[in-house]
């Protein structure tokens, strides 16, 4: 029995990896980048294509086009949490806290309920929620969340911000 245990664990680990791939969670790195996500069905992948295009547009300075691309991502797959996460990031950047909070809530809810959650994605949700709360002047609540994000991913959240390039 003692000899079989590692094999069972290995199989279980493989099954988890396979499940993670099917669900479209991050495959490397602690904070997920949209362009590195794999798995998901055809609809999810097509939707992700628009999320990446939207982030590219924002990196190039065209935020209106970026938002349009995120909306197209939702047209293809309205359950894609990354599209909501990208929208939340955008609205934090343009200073619209209320919209940002609505989108980050939606992203977090979908990540959890569709079994797509990953520690890195959770960090993004916390960080973006913190940044949005800071915009509303709720500094104490914001600090807790931003600190947690910074501790979890100092390279990304160390400056208290998530750029389009960092999410891409």
């Amino acid at each position: 029995m003692a000899e079989r245990k590692p094999l069972i664990r290995l199989l279980a680990a493989l099954a988890l990896v396979a499940l993670a791939g099917c669900a479209g969670v991050v495959t490397r790195g602690t904070t997920p980048r949209v362009s590195q996500l794999s798995g998901g069905d055809d609809v999810f992948r097509a939707s992700q294509d628009f999320v990446v295009a939207g982030l590219d547009a924002e990196i190039a300075g065209d935020s209106a086009l970026g938002v349009s691309q995120y909306e197209r991502a939702l047209q293809v797959d309205a359950s894609n949490p990354w599209a909501y996460l990208a929208l939340a990031r955008h609205y934090v950047e343009v200073g619209e806290a209320r919209s940002a909070l609505a989108y980050v809530d939606r992203a977090a809810g979908l990540l959890e309920s569709l079994d797509l959650d990953s520690p890195g994605a959770r960090l993004h949700c916390d960080g973006l929620r913190g940044a949005a709360l800071a915009l509303q002047g709720r500094d104490r609540e914001a600090r807790v969340l931003l600190d947690a994000a910074a501790r979890g991913a100092p390279a990304v959240w160390g400056d208290g911000q998530l750029s389009a390039a960092e999410l891409r």
Partner: protein
Amino acid sequence: MRLLGWGVLAASFTGGFAVAATLVGLDRQVRARFEGTQFRLPSRVYSAPAILYPGMDWQRFGLRESLMRLGYRDAGSATDLPPGQLVWESGRVRVHLRAFEHPTRPEPDRDIVIRLRGSKIADIRELPTGRSMGAVMLEPEPLGAYYGPVREQRELVVLDELPRYLIDAVLAVEDQRFETHPGIDLRRIAGAALANLRAGRVEQGGSTLTQQLVKNFFLTPERTLSRKLREAAMALIVEARYDKDAILKAYLNEIYLGQRGATAVHGVGEASHLYFGKPASRLTVAESGLIAAIIQSPNGISPYREPERAIARRNLVLELMKNQGRLTDQQYELAIAEPLRLATVTPESGDARYFLDLLHRQLTETYSSEQLTEEGLRIYSTLDRRLQQIAARALHEGLEAIEKRRPSLASDDPGRRLQGCLVVLRPQTGELLALVGGRDYRVSQFDRCSQARRQTGSVFKPFVYVAGLEPRAAGPVITLASVLDDSPLELSTPNGPWRPQNFDGKYHGRVGVREAIERSLNVATVRLAGEVGLNQVVEVAHRLGIESHLPAVPSLALGTAEITPLELARAYATLASGGVRPETQAIEDVVDPAGDVLARRELRFERVLDPGTAFLATSLLEGVATRGTAAGLYAGGLRGPIAAKTGTTDDERDLWFVGFTPELVAVVWIGFDEPRSIGLASSVGAMPIWRRFMEDVSGGTVRGAFPRPPDLERAEIAPSTGAIALRGCPEHRSEYFLPGTLPTTFCPDGDSPESDAIHRRFLRWLSENL
């Protein structure tokens, strides 16, 4: 003699004064038209763009039909494929997508190859690079336009954007001395008069292009001397006041060039789209020749109805161009050899008329009626053209099937026929994807989805159960393990005692929550509403998205309040999206002719229900679809997650069916405008329409899953008592519970909780060590 001289002088003076006054009047008219709003441009409404991606079922999407509706032409061979053309071969389609001009979300034209494998798109590659594409968008489809008193459509052009040979073609056949004459061409008039005299009838016209423009702008088509004189005078005024380019531009935008259904097509810009499916700037020499050719008689020489006559006339135009030195011999030879390749005729869609009216009502809150009919706005909507077509077909055929089944419901009077409506929302965003407001828009423009408030019957019941499931300070009134009382009930109301009855006329005693909603039991539901509190039920229904007035009376629980189908769709969308209420959106953006975005949608939603309660309510409605009154849904082979509720009002006057999947919410209503009994239950009347719609949309398999919050607890219960079913309990059913709401009683025939706890601990040990 002297008196006569004075008389002549006076007459001359008077005549001269009258002529001068007339000329001043004509001049005023000319200036008003040329310097004011020259053309009234109706605003056009477009669908949401369709998106293609690898893995998509292109047959179910209707790829070929979509491309044809967008005016793509089959080029036959694929050597150098210009935008707007395609080549459909076995296993692949190459299509050069047109550019989409939009101020904030432009798309370049793309030459792509779509590889097909069976009914699926295998991959999409861009040429010439061969780059694989994850998704591509087709242009939004035109749905219709808001016209003023005159039903005309035109796309304005400027001369700089037009190919020179298009202008040359028009001038060659209509007015070859346009650049040099002063508005009237005496040589042409003399030539035409001579030709007509020889023929003994009117064969040629002597009008210049300026005269034609004046006639179209200001005058009636009558052939009288006084009208001709006014035409000539105004042509001279126009030429004196404006340069040739301004006149030519006005002419090319004004000239009548055919029909798109009931709509008159004016101007070379619009005609270019009508006949060739592309902007005028991209016309070839031969295509330019054809447009110039049909100016004489757009319907008589229609290339669709009279292709041979149209080609003959086109060739005459090309010959004139060559003879006048506007074409080289080589250009002429190439153009004359070009076959006639026309775009598919795309009359304005009639199936979205109710949607267009709804949009108009929304738009007039911001824009005046004149703005909508004259300023040429482009309105991009959320409508999904494919879903709209499927919805229209499902409703139409479903109503016919009901009449076939019950011939007494049929009527020869179109105004008294059985009616229905179908509305579809995307729950996560609130986008209105399809709306069919009635059976035939031509007979009745009343939109039963957004304008008709009707009693809802049992489709209201889920709001009672949501109110019962929702957490409160003292815990929820019910859980999915609760047992309700369905025994006789008498309530006192201002109208006297009220005794609710079940549909089958029987009472069912103690019933589980699931059974109560799956069988749509009235008495148990009324009793639950009383326990929850009627004001609480009203509050929950409003919070989920119902806007109509809801009287807090006991019969509310059975759907006696009057609600629109669109409101119901929104409230159920809140459940489908896990408790987040969306704002209903029908407009993506509004763009003016200068390219400025006047309005842009912002996705707005608000959490109004905790996700756990939304999930539990959805789970109950999944049971309705699996085992309850909507169990027939799956009978036709439909698979996947569906939550649904049937509703039939008193005397079977209104039949409702509300169903949702993780991606769509659709509401079907059936009834007469003047309410009368249909004599059928919802599961027989409305449900088949919903099922047909969803089968056609999904191909039989519904995608996705309803979001389940991770903090829900799961337990085995004994359905008859609602107790936790321990090992050995004779009945078991697995249910979800909000945290801290597990039943506190145990199945009496099972083991003790302690021994069961040992069993659970053993299972946990196993799971931790595997």
